[in-house]
Symmetry: C5
Subunit: 85 residues, 5 copies
């Protein structure tokens, strides 16, 4: 999983059935200094109620619809990142 920030959202009405009802959020990966990394922005399905500005955990393949479809998803909202070394 990668640490990312929710930076916006995407509007798409014409989409595959598996994505119907899904909230599609823009997420941008963050580096060691917690700033956004250029050109590392993806679109992820929200499964935890995240909003713009939230620090989140993003998993590349999360199963929707009984495993038939795996989409990049937000799987957790991060409250604290503790880096010790």
């Amino acid at each position: 999983m990668i640490l990312a920030k929710v930076t916006g959202h995407v509007v798409a009405t014409q989409k595959s059935d598996e994505l119907r009802g899904c909230n599609l959020l823009l997420v941008t990966a963050i580096g060691d200094d917690q700033t956004l990394i250029k050109d590392k922005t993806y679109v992820a399905v929200d499964s935890v109620g995240a909003g713009t500005g939230d620090l989140v955990l993003v998993e590349e393949y999360f199963a929707l619809n009984k495993d038939r479809y795996k989409a990049m998803s937000i799987v957790a909202i991060v409250e604290k990142v503790q880096r010790d070394c």
Copy 2:
């Protein structure tokens, strides 16, 4: 999923059975400034009726033919990308 633009198509008559009847489109990833990224062009199966110039969502592994074959696919046509931060 990544944001990409449909930049063309591919003609291939000799192909694996799982790809029969599939529309094979060229998709090029776009960066934060919405321009095409050099050498980030892929071929994706169209599942939503996309055409050249469309902004689309591309998923790396979308299941075809009862999960036996997972191919990079266009899963949504994007109408609007709202970046807030």
Copy 3:
């Protein structure tokens, strides 16, 4: 899927059972200018009868032997790449 050129082949007698009888071809990814990209050479299982010099579509995980093993495979021979934008 990526566009690649068949650039050679690999000989391997000691291999996992799932690869028995498979033709192992060297494939090199091509860039937007259709030239080979340095250090982007992979080994793919041929499923369509491709040969050296052919332009092909390569899929990272194609199921062999009842889904137990997914290997990088050549899934189509490309006749024409039409880039419109």
Copy 4:
């Protein structure tokens, strides 16, 4: 699998059900010289009782909850890396 060092942990109370009860550790990939690689920090589920400072093996997709969810996981604590050539 990649060699990585446990460099911290993440606190997340709002998370997908599949991650409930999981220990979420920060892991940073190490290079050939065994030092941490910049901006190669991920979050992995701990399955072996690893702690900060441990050298570990990280696998990108490890199945949790009957295969429905595959998350990046720590699958071994490394005692010794023997490089011969």
Copy 5:
């Protein structure tokens, strides 16, 4: 699959059950000139009896233990790489 050289091994007693009895080898990807690529060293499960110095084919996700766990694995020992173009 990628071409790699076995460059060493890893000792790990505390590991997930799926890796019990597995031989964990260090593999380093090779470039077009057949030399080792810096910082492209991984740990792979050996399934073909490979040893240090061997040129091998490495597959990212090879199923162990009835598909529940897929680990990077060595799937073939390469005798000859024939590059024609």
